[in-house]
């Protein structure tokens, strides 16, 4: 019996030589080119297309500015001090560990930190951002644009409309003080993140796009202005400034992405944008959310809808007025009929989105 068992074990230890995709990996890609290690007082720029969806590692850097203007599979940032990071779109997770005094712009599916101190993060995150054993962290909404960034979001399978930047989960809360807060809304990202290591690049003052001296950035048209940002600036969990709310839903069409942008542009300066969602509604959920507008049910089944939550005086009327101007046969919109109805529907929509995240 014992003999039989050991024979079986021995066989098990040698798995059959099965070929996996990683066994035939492209050896022309050198992993070393996807690590930045030990940069001090440097400005390092990786142009769009140079990372192209690979994994990236940043470690042991000091007082450096690191621009990864591409989509990335996943990234770890370890043991960095006094650095700036601008990272386009991360398909799965970004993990910051043992970092201090850093500033970071990043869009990702998962955001994680451990053992970090004093890091400012301008974030677009599909899921709930988490932190552990980190303190004096501050969060704000991602604001970034450069040529090709929108396509990079698509390649990383991120939606610019699914952003939970202000909904942080802290695994190690401290009873006395909160380990994180929201960055003051007036903070200018341009001042923080401007590529200005080369004095000549500062010549075009007032212009946030970077001067032509930094090879590879000029043609990318890098901008930190919120009016250029591919991710709309949302107030998130910040205190609401007004009593009235309104939910606008942009139904799927060939142009619904542009239609949402047009809508945001039209209501800009009139109302606050609180939160946005892009989600595919089940027929059941659609009939619940649009209980007061059965004519909309069918429209929800064409594809993912984009939900925009607004807050502002008279915002229901403001939204309906814009819809009257923008809607066409090809593009349908929905807006809440009243502020009270909006609050109910917004809760329903967000609960549904959270349910989608449950494993």
């Amino acid at each position: 019996m014992g003999c039989c068992r050991s024979k079986m074990k021995a066989k098990d230890k040698i798995p059959e030589k099965k070929q996996y995709s990683w066994d035939k990996r492209n050896n022309e890609i050198d992993p070393k080119n996807f690590i930045i290690d030990g940069a001090v007082d440097e400005t390092i720029i990786r142009k769009p297309g140079t990372i192209n969806g690979q994994q990236f590692v940043v470690q042991n850097c000091k007082n450096s500015k690191i621009y990864l203007l591409d989509h990335v599979a996943t990234i770890t940032v370890d043991d960095c001090t006094g650095c700036l990071f601008v990272i386009g779109a991360v398909k799965s997770s970004i993990f910051l560990r043992d970092c201090q005094d850093c500033k970071c712009i990043v869009a990702c599916q998962q955001f994680r930190t451990r053992d970090c101190q004093k890091v400012d993060v301008f974030l677009s995150c599909t899921t709930q951002p988490i932190m552990e054993s980190s303190a004096r962290m501050r969060f704000g909404c991602y604001q970034l644009a450069y040529q090709g960034l929108l396509e990079q979001f698509q390649q990383a399978m991120l939606s610019v409309y699914n952003n939970n930047w202000s909904n942080i989960h802290d695994f190690t809360p401290t009873p006395q003080s909160k380990n994180w807060k929201m960055i003051h809304e007036d903070v200018s990202l341009s001042e923080l993140f401007q590529v200005n290591s080369n004095p000549q690049s500062e010549q075009g003052n007032g212009d946030n796009t970077v001067g032509s001296t930094l090879d590879g950035v000029s043609e990318s048209k890098l901008s930190f202005k919120n009016e250029d940002s591919v991710v709309p600036l949302t107030r998130g969990a910040r205190e609401k400034r007004y009593d009235d709310s309104c939910l606008v839903v942009v139904f799927h069409s060939a142009n619904s992405f542009k239609a949402s942008k047009d809508f945001l542009e039209a209501v800009k300066d009139k109302v606050d944008l609180i939160q946005t969602k892009e989600v595919t509604l089940s027929p059941d959920e659609a009939s619940r959310i649009f209980a007061d507008s059965p004519s909309m049910w069918k429209s929800t089944q064409r594809g993912p809808v984009i939900g925009l939550e607004f807050n502002g005086d008279d915002c229901v009327k403001v939204c309906h007025d814009v819809i009257a101007k923008l809607s066409s046969e090809d593009q349908q919109y929905y807006a809440s009929k009243s502020s009270a109805a909006a609050k109910r529907v917004i809760d329903q929509l967000y609960n549904f989105c959270e349910m989608q995240m449950i494993v």
Partner: protein, 187 residues
């Protein structure tokens, strides 16, 4: 159906249920493996705050797979889930060179626990699709798996994201459990 038959059926059903523990450091890919095992979509997975559990049917067995969050702060709670586990699956982020030692120490601690003594161990060397991944053989060496005594173990390279290698690991689990129950019956 008589009472005896009913009891017998209950017993055989019980035997067909397996409790599988899915552990590993945070960001290792445990939930992605859980969803991959259940043939579910692996996009938009949120970091686990507590635990996830799923029942997966495989070759006539019902596998109850427990995926427990891996942050340092919540690792002490892992032990609450040890009891009656049939298989331990330990997930490693093969690209996380900084924490190879940490993941090794955690595994060591798990294997030293009495409640898990003799429980078969499957190590998933996950994220093999990524550029910085260490090969499974290197990880096995780093973890000193060769020195394990009194336990059946296997290391399986996989990419939960691409769905590669996960089923191969599951096959090993099923084979191991089947041979274990056979040898039990013989006793």
């Amino acid at each position: 159906m008589g009472l005896l038959d009913l009891l017998r059926k209950l017993k055989s059903d019980q035997n067909k249920e397996l409790r599988i523990l899915l552990l590993g450091l945070d960001n290792a890919g445990k939930t992605t493996i859980l969803k991959s095992l259940a043939s579910e979509e692996v996009t938009n997975i949120t970091p686990t705050q507590g635990f996830n559990v799923k029942s997966v049917n495989s070759s006539g067995f019902k596998l109850n797979v427990w995926d427990i969050g891996g942050q340092r702060r919540i690792r002490p709670y892992w032990r609450n889930y040890f009891e009656n586990s049939d298989v331990l699956i330990y997930v490693i982020d093969s690209t996380d060179r900084k924490r190879m030692e940490e993941t090794g120490l955690e595994l060591e601690e798990l294997l030293a626990d009495e409640k898990l003594s003799g429980v078969p161990l499957l190590v998933f060397a996950n994220k093999q699709d990524l550029l910085q991944a260490a090969p499974a053989s290197e990880i096995a060496e780093g973890l000193n798996l060769q020195t394990l005594r009194g336990r059946t173990w296997q290391i399986q390279a996989c990419s939960a994201l691409k769905g590669e290698g996960v089923q191969d690991g599951l096959e090993w689990v099923m084979k191991t459990v089947a041979s274990k129950s056979k040898s039990k019956k013989k006793k």
